[in-house]
């Protein structure tokens, strides 16, 4: 009798019928890392609970999803985990070792670094995307307070300067643009496209976190080596039934909406 390897079967089958997340994720890890799989950290029970509607998202859930994203990401795109920013607040030396896995020098060999931000006082999640090619730092926050934007921008300026000093790179802060955006795609899409907090969270990560200003297509190209995302990121599984909206027709899940208008505030560099 010939044994069938589970990872040779379709992802859909694994996702729907057979203990979905663990096997799916592990089979993907095996594909990428060969004989020595390094499956991402799966959320504990608490992490899964926070995917439900009406609950807040905890770090466990976000970090697990980031781990999955990192498996698909090009080596030039790096996503830090949610604790990076809170460590960075204590000083750059606390996070200097976190850059081991990156390509060096970061300023020339990395395309993008994504820093999830936990705003403890607001109990809120935001994100910073550092684009090393275009020299743009984008702060994405659905409730967007200007004070928070300035605070995060200041931290990021310092971070970039410290990173340049660590790598003995020349660094011109004036060449960098800091953009803050308020609207996140999931907020616009919520009535029709996003029926549950769990999916909202996934859409937020894929759409908003990766590269919101240049739209979904670019986000996928940026983070995924091929233009075929895994089935569960653009889910059309039975548990992702779209809630009908009386005001607008329900778009197909795979249709590409136009890029979001750039509601951006640019704070020029102050000397």
């Amino acid at each position: 009798m010939r044994l069938v390897r589970w990872n040779q079967l379709g992802l859909t089958l694994l996702w729907t019928h057979y203990s979905p997340p663990r096997l799916l994720v592990q089979s993907m890890a095996r594909r990428k890392y060969g004989q020595r799989p390094r499956p991402p950290h799966l959320p504990s029970e608490g992490g899964f609970i926070t995917f439900r509607d009406g609950t807040l998202v905890n770090d466990d859930a976000i970090n697990s999803y980031i781990d999955v994203l990192k498996m698909f990401a090009r080596p030039t795109v790096h996503v830090f985990n949610t604790f990076f920013f809170s460590r960075l607040l204590d000083g750059f030396d606390k996070v200097a070792t976190w850059h081991k896995d990156l390509r060096h020098p970061v300023f020339t060999h990395m395309e993008r670094i994504i820093v999830p931000i936990h705003l403890k006082s607001q109990s809120h999640w935001a994100t910073v995307s550092i684009d090393f090619k275009r020299h743009i730092v984008t702060y994405m926050d659905s409730i967007f307070l200007p004070s928070t934007f300035e605070f995060v921008t200041e931290i990021m300026r310092k971070y970039l300067a410290d990173l340049a000093a660590l790598e003995t790179c020349s660094f011109d802060l004036e060449a960098w643009t800091f953009i803050g955006s308020k609207d996140t795609p999931w907020k616009v899409l919520r009535p029709t496209e996003v029926p549950s907090a769990r999916l909202q969270f996934m859409v937020d990560v894929v759409w908003g976190v990766i590269d919101y200003p240049r739209g979904y297509d670019h986000a996928l190209q940026s983070i995924f080596p091929s233009h075929s995302p895994p089935a569960f990121i653009l889910p059309d599984e039975p548990d992702y039934v779209h809630v009908p909206c009386p005001l607008s027709p329900v778009p197909s899940p795979r249709s590409m909406p136009p890029p979001m208008p750039a509601v951006a505030t640019v704070i020029p560099f102050r000397t």
Binding site: V57, N58, D59, F80, N81, S86, V95, H118, K120
Partner: protein
């Protein structure tokens, strides 16, 4: 018959010196805010013990602390061998409280 007394000097005196790590074990420093905890663990011991002990010491409920090593999130079932920790340098784990927020 001569009265043979046990040689007390040969016995290792009990010491509280934290820098003394038994053979085959590695010292792990767990840093939580300003608090520091030191443990000597075998490279094959799962971190679950370390996590639980730290949570007990700071009276945190189980599962509410997150542990990292050089930015790598640690899982309870992992070991020093698995994470390929650099044992030449002091091994420092950083613990942080759970983060919760709306997106």
């Amino acid at each position: 018959m001569p009265d043979v007394k046990p040689d007390i000097k040969e016995r290792k005196p009990a010491t509280q010196d934290e820098s003394e790590v038994p053979d085959g074990k590695v010292q792990i420093t767990v840093i939580l805010g300003e608090q520091t905890f030191k443990y000597a663990v075998k490279p094959t011991t799962a971190f679950k013990k370390v996590f639980e002990t730290t949570e007990k010491q700071v009276a945190a409920s189980p599962g509410t602390l997150r542990f990292h090593y050089n930015g790598q999130r640690l899982r309870p079932q992992q070991t020093l061998e698995e994470i390929e920790a650099e044992l030449d340098e002091p091994v420092e784990f950083h613990a942080q409280l759970e983060q919760i927020g709306g997106a």
